[in-house]
Each structure stands twice: as structure tokens, then as C-alpha cells.
Symmetry: C2
Subunit: 177 residues, 2 copies
């Protein structure tokens, strides 16, 4: 069960740099890829930059449709997330292959990933750096969070199959939003 | 003591989304800010995108000089890193105020931060998205790593003074670089 998440809180999910899934949909066929090159660009409405390589099957769908979902997996999903990153949607229905459940989104055509603790419905807002860097600016239109997944640990990619999971939480008096 | 780090390994430092310091230098005066909005854009030569708000004192220096250092602090520095983020170089010499040691860089004017376990010397490579999004594309010209800091834990910002430190490392068979 996904519940609404206020758009003002989206940056708290992406700013820490988790490995995420990105779903697209084209000609009635959904696909999912693994991504670590993303960052926040604006708080609200939330803007997110990401790099989707032309070598990824998802590139053409994202470019053509201008829509995607960023889905954030917790540690338990890491083996599936890596599996998704190791193959191409060119040859495979990755949702079926990895037992991930596509769920209808509200504002865009690509599906949410039911197993992820958060899902962000996005549309492409700026393509000026796509040709040169494969860099898309996305606007998050709607955000979802699964309240049943409490204190999810995210994973962070350090290259070549090495990942670090979230550890200790610390609080420091900060004026930084 | 900082040692050379091959440029091909830079993405392994930034891709996991650590809170970093960014130093600039203008008219002989160095400054340092705290930053979490950055991502990798290309492996080698390493390109990095980052957002430096016009509200930050560092913005004008970065824009005018086209040079900065991205310095990566370990967990032990977190209180200083948050302190740096809570004040402005407009009013303060933050290196002195927080006991951070500026060290000469090799390819750019802004200083390395001696206490950080890695330092990346950067020049601005693309400014097309600066006016609209405060988004700079940087090229990493030279990278340094302090071998005395072994297995440093980085910190990740979740908003409003909540940070998560690196936890468990996991290895999964990945074809992802």
C-alpha cells in the first residue's frame, strides 16, 4: 500500500544518494533499470537531474515519452536491484524475471514498483544536456511512500558490485534544509 | 599526506552520495561550503554535476573563477561539516573558524582540505544550466586520497540535521561499473 508523500519531502529521499530503480513504458511495454547517477536540483516542485546512458534500453523510452518513475528500494531488494542492473530490457521482461510488481501510477504511464518503499512519478522538464551528457532534468509530479516499510535502509554503490548500506543515524543541529 | 588517486576511480567516491565540502578562492580569499546536491555524469575524464545556489557566497566565486575543490569528509568531521553549512563565508573565514587546514592544490587555485580523506581538483566545464538551475558541470582534473584514513565512513544528509553514516559493506556480483 502506497500513501501520498508531500512533494516537499522528496529531497530527503534522493539527497543521500541511494541506488534507485527507474521505470519507463513505451508502446505498452514497461521496463526497469538500475541507476545511481542522480541528484536533487530544486526542493519544490522537486526537480531531479539524472544520467541515463544512451547504451541503456531505457534511454529511448525516456526520451520519446518524457515520463519515468524513480523507485527507491531498501536493502532487502539489493540482489534484485543488482540483477536488474546486469541485464537489458531489450531481451527480457525484467519485472517478470525478477519478481517485481508493476503498479499503475497516477500521473504518468510507467509503473510504480510495489516492492519499493518510495516511488516518484516524474516527467522530463529539460533536455538541453541530453545530447551531450545524457543528462535529464525531471520534475517530480507525485510521490508515494509505503508506510509498512519502516526505517528502510538504502544501499549506495561504490563500483564493481560493492555496496554500502545505511548505518547509524546521527542528529546535528543544522540550518540546512 | 595526500596521494594521487587515478581519475578512473573518482566515481567510486561520489556515486554513493556523501555530503562533501566545496572550496573556492577569489581575490586571494578561500572559502568552503557544504554540499549534497552532486552526481557523476561521466567516468573518465570524470565529469560531475552539482548545484550551488545563488544564495551561497561560493556561487559568485565558482562562476567567476571556474574552479573549485570537492573535498570528501569522513564521519569524524561531521560536526565541522555541519558547522560550515550553517554559516556564510561572507562574514567569516570558515577555515580558521572550524580548524580546517587549506593545502595548495596542483591544478587549480582553491585549496584542498587536509582533514578530508579525498580531494578532487575541478574546473567548470559547462555553464548552460547555471542561470536556470544553478547547475554546474565540473571536470575533475586531479584527484587525491589520504591513505592514512582507512575505510572512512561518509555521511549522507536526510534533511534538517539528520545524517546517516555508512554501515555494512555488501558485495553482489555486478556488471555495473
Amino acid at each position: 500500500m502506497m500513501k501520498d508523500l508531500p512533494l516537499s519531502k522528496v529531497y530527503q529521499l534522493l539527497e543521500p544518494g541511494p541506488v534507485v530503480l527507474l521505470t519507463t513504458s513505451r508502446k505498452g511495454r514497461a521496463n526497469v533499470m538500475t541507476m545511481s547517477w542522480h541528484m536533487m536540483v530544486e526542493f519544490e516542485p522537486p526537480l531531479v537531474a539524472c544520467v541515463v546512458s544512451k547504451a541503456n534500453h531505457s534511454f529511448a523510452a525516456l526520451r520519446a515519452t518524457g515520463e519515468c518513475i524513480i523507485a527507491i528500494p531498501a536493502l532487502e531488494l539489493a540482489p534484485k536491484v543488482v540483477g536488474v542492473g546486469n541485464c537489458s530490457g531489450r531481451d527480457l521482461d525484467k519485472f517478470a524475471a525478477f519478481g517485481l510488481t508493476p503498479m499503475p501510477a497516477k500521473r504518468v504511464a510507467p509503473p510504480l514498483v510495489a516492492e519499493c518503499f518510495a516511488n516518484l512519478e516524474c516527467k522530463v522538464a529539460d533536455t538541453r544536456l541530453v545530447n551531450r551528457y545524457n543528462l535529464f532534468i525531471l520534475e517530480v509530479l507525485k510521490a508515494w511512500r509505503d508506510p509498512a516499510q519502516k526505517n528502510p535502509k538504502t544501499v549506495h554503490h561504490h563500483g564493481y558490485g560493492t555496496f554500502v548500506a545505511d548505518g547509524e543515524t546521527i542528529k546535528l543541529k543544522s540550518k540546512m534544509r
